[in-house]
């Protein structure tokens, strides 16, 4: 049984690393987001192997949703989102490769060099119940702080992303891309009607 565990572990870790690497090597932004999701799923299943029955499954659950949203935004804001033309938008490539390799080598060396305390998870431990008791008892403050943090995040995202924010119409000051960096707006000098002209449409979603 342990042999089987090891085989599955090796397969999953290979898959997690390979999909993680492919994230930066694919042209399609949708594939990119969902490759990262696959990497997370593989890590979630590895956690399941380590008897983290809650965190493992919950990682899959949370990351599926987050990467779905990630895909939406990547398609929205990256040019050529489907990779119809091959994309290569990197800078300081060699430095980054070196940094990645050094980070990996350093961390691995540190892991191999240090003696880690070995106190394995006792079998049959009720890990979900433990977590619940912890949340409601000793870590209650962390739990409620997380609530406040999430509320702050929600408010911040709405303020930042919404057009009708508290701080005036976000269209103010917006201008189309220049033909050269910092240059004059491209090809729409005479069409100033985009913002205010159709104003009656803005509030049409106001039902419900």
């Amino acid at each position: 049984m342990t042999i089987l565990t090891d085989i599955v572990f090796v397969l999953l870790s290979g898959f997690a690393l390979w999909t993680g690497w492919r994230v930066f090597r694919t042209d399609s932004m949708v594939r990119c987001a969902f490759l990262l999701m696959l990497s997370f799923i593989a890590v979630g299943l590895m956690m399941l192997l380590m008897a983290a029955v809650y965190i493992g499954v919950a990682t899959v659950f949370m990351m599926a949703v987050e990467m779905m949203v990630m895909a939406l935004f990547m398609v929205m804001f990256m040019m050529n989102p489907a990779g119809l033309n091959p994309m290569w938008m990197v800078h300081q490539h060699r430095l980054s490769v070196a940094a990645g390799v050094v980070a990996f080598a350093g961390l691995t060396a540190a892991v191999l060099a240090s003696t880690l305390p070995a106190e394995p998870l006792p079998p049959g431990r009720p890990v979900v119940r433990d977590l619940g008791t912890e949340l409601l008892g000793p870590s209650m403050l962390i739990f409620e702080t997380a609530g406040v943090t999430l509320l702050a995040t929600m408010v911040a995202t709405v303020i930042l992303s919404s057009r009708r924010g508290r701080f005036g119409d976000a269209m103010e000051g917006a201008c189309p891309p220049g033909l050269e960096p910092g240059g004059a707006p491209a090809g729409r000098a005479e069409s100033e009607s985009g913002g205010g002209h159709h104003h009656h449409h803005h509030h049409h979603g106001d039902h419900g």
Partner: protein, 101 residues
């Protein structure tokens, strides 16, 4: 499957994530690199929890907090992208691309 092997895989993920975060030009892809690094951190935390902390509940709580950090980072990051795009209406790089054609 030992703690060492788990940690080596985790550092692999962190290494790839670091490469992505440093090399990618666009902010969104940079966030992908960060997420991948946090993925490695998550794996390492659970590795420690399972092999050397004897299943202390704080280990799981830490993993949840890492995930919460990811969610907050993503939500605020994308909101910033929207806000910046609204102000500038385009990437710098696209201006260059228009120039080329």
């Amino acid at each position: 499957m030992t703690l060492v092997s788990v940690l080596v895989v985790a550092s692999g993920l962190i290494g790839i994530g670091l490469y992505g975060a440093l090399s990618q030009q666009s902010f969104v892809m940079l966030m992908m690199g960060l997420e991948l690094m946090l993925n490695g951190v998550l794996l390492a935390v659970i590795g420690f929890w399972a092999f050397s902390l004897g299943g202390m509940p704080e280990g799981q709580l830490l993993a949840i907090l890492v995930m919460a950090v990811m969610a907050v980072e993503m939500a605020v990051g994308f909101a910033l992208v929207v806000a910046v795009y609204r102000k500038r209406q385009a990437d710098m790089t696209e201006g260059l691309d228009l120039l080329k054609n």
